[in-house]
């Protein structure tokens, strides 16, 4: 009984996604009524200049956001795990983890208010666009990166670092020559996760984007609100396949190095 429900649960996880992908090969022009097999929607998709432009913006936003988030996340995770107690640790700890549970709509809205106020007081950023999206995405992605790298640092045997320090190595040298190589798979995984999270955001971007900086998820979102078309199913299929491969690769990297360290 329990097994049967559990098994059905796995089917439940995949059926909607599989059907979504199947309908991208529908010959009809409605996303939900099956007419026949066709690949024409993929060709229609590649002629949609607006979508290609939005995809380009999304890629750039995701690249910069993931890079900033990873840079900040590595430092934050290191400071939080390698210092037992310091002033403001509770505050920083709270700030690092709370974006994980914050409703996106509130994150987006508060970012908008921040940008309006900043523009008023210091004149920067002058208007909303790619810069403001990147600032907002870096902030919420940083929380996820920190969590991943932190758990790796906690697992890591700190006697390695202590040994290097005892032998007279400068802390900075220890960080770059001992710590960084050990946590590098977690850094790669964190970056990839941040990249996919940024690429998936359709809510925060509603508040932080300006004219001419519409991202791909924002485009998908406004289309899905009106109804679904096979063209968007084709787009969704491509995204699922590409991101799926990236995720599996990241997980493989994480697992292989974990196994290596267990030996």
């Amino acid at each position: 009984m329990l097994r049967a429900i559990g098994f059905l649960g796995f089917i439940f996880l995949y059926i909607p996604l599989i059907l979504l992908m199947a309908y991208s090969f529908n010959a009809g022009d409605r996303a939900s009524l099956w007419v026949g097999f066709s690949t024409k929607w993929y060709f229609v998709l590649f002629e949609n200049k607006e979508l290609l432009k939005a995809a380009g913006i999304s890629m750039r936003v995701a690249f910069f956001s993931a890079t900033i988030a990873t840079f900040l996340g590595v430092i934050a995770a290191f400071v939080l795990t390698r210092n037992k107690r310091f002033r403001g640790k509770v505050l920083i700890d709270g700030m690092v983890t709370s974006p994980l549970v914050m409703p996106e709509i509130i994150t987006g809205f508060s970012m908008l208010i921040l940008f309006i106020s900043m523009q008023k007081f210091i004149g920067w950023p002058a208007n909303r666009g790619m810069t403001t999206i990147i600032l907002a995405h870096s902030t919420f992605c940083m929380a996820y990166v920190t969590v991943i790298i932190r758990s790796r640092l906690v697992d890591m045997d700190s006697s390695l670092e202590e040994a290097a320090q005892d032998l007279g190595a400068h802390p900075i040298f220890v960080f770059f020559q001992v710590t960084l190589p050990v946590i590098s798979p977690a850094i790669v995984a964190g970056w990839l996760l941040a990249f996919t999270l940024s690429l998936d955001d359709a809510v925060i971007v509603q508040f932080t984007s300006g004219a001419g900086s519409t991202t791909l998820p924002a485009k998908i979102y406004s289309q899905v609100r009106q109804g679904v078309t096979p063209e968007y199913n084709a787009l969704a299929t491509l995204i699922i396949v590409i991101v799926g491969i990236a995720i599996i690769t990241a997980m493989q990297i994480m697992n292989r190095t974990q196994r290596m360290h267990h030996v």
């Binding site: 329990l2 796995f10 979504l20 690092v96 359709a202 899905v224 969704a236």
Partner: protein
């Protein structure tokens, strides 16, 4: 010497960077939102009266309580909070009903297969939230696969589909579908520690499998159940995408109301009031409970 001082300051600066970033881009925005909740709407850009004003080199505070008064006087706002909590509660319970058996199956699977099953749970979770909601929308259309299937096997009469889309059912299904991994992972972490010998002891003492499950397995997995339910309930209660894409136009969910106040009504102060209340009522207790759990874990470790 000078080099050493320079590198010391440099290191300090780099270490301080994420903290400064979070103060500016995470804490400061919430302080601004809190302040903005004491403002009032006006025509113009931005569409609200400034609360803090510099005039003739004096700092002026213009505090309006009108948004807060409207929040407490208009039953629609409180009602939306209650109905969000109800929706999130029901959806969380449904997620538990499906997630628990799945976590149990994974935890009881041979060790070699566990990794694969966990990966199967996590994979759609990281793929794309938006596209998973889209997938649910695709299958629920009146001419969509679910209705077609029900008509084919004769549960529904031909050409009389059920209206699934834009109903509460679709919202529940959307939440269960997208948040299932949040439920399964903490449950799994808990169930995998359950010793086979405990179950054997129970059955040796004559308990039927169902009784063992109800009286032994479930009580032992309370920490996992609580963690999983919190991880589903908290984001679900503030959910915007799911009620917006799958629910009826008059679905009362707080995330959607914040969006409507911001986008349709351009009432930023009201959106701020609602955000502040969500943070106080739903997010803050969760963070405090986590702190408390961490403390408890520290005490247990010592």
């Amino acid at each position: 010497m000078i080099n050493r001082i320079a590198s010391f300051v440099g290191v300090r600066g780099v270490i301080a960077l994420p903290m400064i970033w979070l103060l500016v881009f995470f804490l400061l925005p919430f302080i601004f939102v809190f302040v903005l909740s004491f403002s009032t709407i006006r025509n113009g850009m931005p569409p609200y009266e400034p609360v803090v004003n510099f005039k003739d080199s004096f700092l002026q505070l213009n505090i309006h309580l009108s948004s807060w008064e409207r929040f407490f006087e208009n039953p629609i706002y409180i009602g939306t909070f209650l109905s969000s909590a109800k929706t999130a509660f029901i959806a969380t319970f449904l997620t538990l009903l499906i997630g628990f058996p799945m976590a149990y199956v994974i935890a009881r699977a041979p060790e070699a297969r566990r990794h694969l099953l966990l990966m199967l749970v996590i994979l759609p979770f990281w793929t794309s939230f938006l596209l998973r909601v889209y997938a649910i929308k695709t299958i629920l259309y009146n001419q969509g696969p679910v209705n077609q299937f029900l008509m084919k096997i004769g549960i529904l009469e031909v050409n009389s589909p059920i209206q699934f889309l834009n109903t509460d059912f679709a919202v529940y299904l959307g939440i269960v579908y997208t948040y299932l991994p949040f439920m399964i992972l903490p449950l799994y972490a808990n169930l995998v520690k359950l010793e086979e010998s405990v179950l054997e002891a129970s059955s040796d003492l004559g308990a039927k499998p169902f009784w063992t499950f109800w009286q032994v397995v479930i009580p032992l997995s309370y920490p996992g159940i609580i963690a999983g339910c919190m991880l589903v309930f908290i984001p679900a209660v503030g959910e915007f995408v799911i009620p917006d894409l799958l629910g009826a136009t008059d679905t009362k969910m707080i995330g959607k109301t914040i969006y409507v106040e911001y986008f349709n009504n351009r009432d930023y102060p009201m959106a701020s009031v609602l955000s502040v209340v969500v943070l106080i009522v739903f997010v803050a207790p969760f963070l405090m409970m986590r702190k408390w759990q961490d403390k408890l874990a520290e005490v247990n470790d010592a």
